[in-house]
Amino acid sequence: MQYVAEQALNALSIGAEYSLLALGLAIVFSVMGLVNFAHGEFLGVGGYIMYAMALFGAGDIWMILPVCLLTVVITAVLLERVAFRPVRRAPATTGLLTAFGVAIILQNVFLMGVSPRPKAVPAVAVLNTTVDIGSFTFTILQFLEAGVTAIAIVLLVVFMRRTKLGLAMRAAAHDFTTVRLMGVRANRVIATAFAISGFLAGLAAIFFIARRGAIDPFMGLLPVLKAFVACVLGGFGSLPGAVVGGLVLGILEVVLIILLPDFLAGLRDAAVFFIIGAILVGRPQGILGKKAELGDKTA
């Protein structure tokens, strides 16, 4: 029982992390049809800014967290302005390849600017403090991951339903041109989408680095792949789909950790991708996605 509860929270917290990343991808995709492969590098941006702050003596966690979030948000908005705006009207593949380029640039900026080797970032390690509730043992981080993600999702839903900009973003997912005919600035809608995706990625960065305790230039690669998979699994561009996909992925990973014998442990990621591939054979449109129809905005 105890084991099950611990593993369930574990799955939930890992899944929450993927959901945060996947949501950011899905928001940007739904609004402007861009698959932002560079999304994973937002983790790197968050991680390296934490590292830099600790290096220059600003190691207080209450200072690090907001600065980390803010930096990632600014980076996201800036990238949209510099790299993604010129390809906004181009086919999806052009946008995706641009994003690949941006990802490579950021990775190598980290590499050249700091080091090719992993660096320890103990600043947020505090979050790994364990808590005992009765006979159960959890870390603060696990609660935060599940809780903060839940709050972020609720806030996002409220924003998308209650504000004009949120409505415009939902409408843009359907028909961007008509949103412009309402007088809503396309640039504002897209910048907001990037800012939100950056904010969610910033949260994910904090959790991710708290979990790993270290950063390296290519740290964003695997998480963004998994976030992609979560998106595809849930139905690309669907926000609820991204959350569901993230959670399914988290559960799958934890189950595989438990089930896979030790000598196959290294194949965990491969196994996850394999199972996802199998799911997609049955439902190419994802779990929550609907079948594409002629004239739909497709990826």
């Binding site: 409505l167 409408a171 041109t177 412009r180 005919l181 309402m182 396309a186």
Partner: protein, 237 residues
Amino acid sequence: MLEVDNVSVNYGAVRAVHSVSLSVDEGEIVTLLGPNGAGKTSMLSAIIGLVPVAEGTVTFEGQNINRLDTESRVARGITVTPEGRHVFANLTVEENLILGAAIRRDADGVARDLETYLDMFPILRERFKQSGGSLSGGEQQMLAVVRALMSGPKLLMLDEPSLGLAPQIVDQIFKLISGLRDHGLTLLVVEQNAQEALKFADRAYILSSGNLEFAGTAEELRTSADLMKAYIGEGVS
């Protein structure tokens, strides 16, 4: 109010509109007629700024708006309900209408207008919390028109408001359109359905293959069988 002066529009390498001039005065209903592919929608797109003007000028209230983007033109008081309605299917009727008023800062005025229009179009009040996609074609057209009205436009352009609607609904839509003039609105209506459009329009233009073929009063066109035959053809219903 709107002056279109020798405007040409290109779609890629193809010229869709050849040096067309037209004007719409305040309080008028002007209709732009012509067969499919005549360049009517291109004309509207150029006026609202969705496609660039290749040659010529578009003037609104005495100011050249060639270089303004679509959003700024909407802010100045031009708006359009696009062909095929383009209701936001994933948003409720209410949300569609709120988004229609996105550029307005006067919350009281918005609420007042909303009430007025919901009284005018009671079916929308009935469907207020339903998604736009669940509405029938005629209801969607009404929603699209009201959504455009919510921005408080000075000039409302309608692109094929009768497209794909049952004749009964078409009548209803056109009645509503002529009623809008009494609210002090200026209208530019693109139609293939010439007979219907000429019933309520003050003036008419006819486009054919991107060229202006006729400019005059609706009366003139309506009463001259020859003109009708020459420009519209008998088969056009």
